[in-house]
Amino acid sequence: MTFDLRELYQEVILDHAKQPRNFGHPPACNRQAKGHNPLCGDRLTVYLTIEDGVVTDAAFEGAGCAISMASASLMTEMVKNKTEAEAHSLFELFHALVAGDQGENAENAGDGADLGKLAVFSGVREYPVRVKCATLPWHAFAAALKGKQDDVTTEE
């Protein structure tokens, strides 16, 4: 396979896409939101357990492409045990990484946050049409944090 495909589909991504972590609907969760990408029809639901402003558990269910599944899987790992504010900065940092934006988001993002494993998504910015696949779970996550009831879409 050509070099640059491996840049997009890094081993970690393929691994998480094939065997998503935290897949399911934890009965104890107290926030949830659905995400929908109208371009491809992918849908997923993010379930959070928030205790005293800390994400103590995160999980998801749904079906989608390798990028969106791996993104959801890694996201649920990364946001666990973060405060809501920390998790939100992580989203901003992640968004700046995959959308390649240099502006406000990138500068303000990530106070105290560190991309960690999420850095494997750096190849996504070369594929503009796939950026939404990577951010879909995060949009749903942000909506769940806000306690939003309506489905969110990547078009917002």
Partner: protein
Amino acid sequence: MTTAAGIRRQVQRDSDRLAFDVRRVREDFPILKQRVNGRPLVFLDSAASAQKPRAVIRAVQQCYEREYANIHRGVYFLSERATELFEGARVKVQRFLGAREAREIIFVRGATEAINLVAQTYGRKFLNRADEVVLSTLEHHSNIVPWQMLRDEKGLTLRIIPIDDSGALRMEEYEKLLGTRTKLVAVTHCSNALGIVTPVKEIIRLAHEKGIPVLVDGCQAVPHMPVDVRDLDCDFYVFSGHKLYGPSGIGALYGKAALLEAMPPYQGGGDMISTVTFEKTEYNVIPHKFEAGTPNIAGAIGLGAAIDYVSGLGFDEIVDHEQELLEYATEALAETNSLRLFGTVEDKVCILSFIIEGVHPHDIGTILDHEGIAIRAGHHCAQPLMDRFGVTATARASFGLYNTREDVDALVAGVRKAVEFFG
């Protein structure tokens, strides 16, 4: 496939093997020479929009360089020339569809606008509360949403012709849907997502037995088969120029003259009137009644050139070539492990819609793109159809008259690579 039709095609093919020279045809399409990601472009998304032959590009360019002015108004040479060419394009569409008269052809932006026009004029005037419109499960969103908008405005009911697992319309169910409340049937001639050709002639015959008019969405049919609206006896027929190797932003609505005359205008403005005072306006005759404002003049002329191009090659040749590609591609893809093909009927145009277990269509699309192969991954603007099959998306390879067996080979190799990569 050793069906009678297949054999007939084979015999036919052998006898004039040299007649359709796809290499020469490809020379007519400048864009196909391009390389993508360092590889020759393999363009397999013609159902979304087809590439343009030089004849079309030249016609548009020539219009702007030498023949352009506004139409139907100038008393000077250029305006008369542009009007002649624009109206000449209308006659080309008329002949292409086998319509009785040129005034039965309305120029529109495309199929979407044509269907909205019918819904907003015919539908608004003649459909009432509790009336029913019959659509099919195969429809493109553009033949669903305009009817939903009308439903919400009028209190209509939409009834949907179901399909079987092969994708074929269930005609016995269709017959049962036709009742005293049915006021219109709107169906596709050919499914953009699956390539299935529907039995429109029979659909129309059954509807007409009950006095119900029929609109046919011909977007995916006109590039691939000869169409004769008088033989079909449809009441409305719509298509988009850009799928027929013509420019984007131009398409046609065919309507039987008596129906068009009975319909109120669509938009108001210049050209659609005969006299205007602030008290009262007299509308122009058809087709002008439906063509308010300055139309896409160069687009119509380009569409005329596209029709000349396709007619020059001839549908006998085009159908043979594309049906051979369809058989070849169907067999080749069927040999791929864990691949599921949708739309497994005999009567199809060359569109292959599939999923692969464990590999999302989007990922297939990205892997193929790396090989320089353009396919479509998604719901193809036919979400109800995707729902029917319990999938959110498929990968779709759609062929045009310029595609080759080598394109099929590249597709199959690319698909196998994707399977390996994610396997």
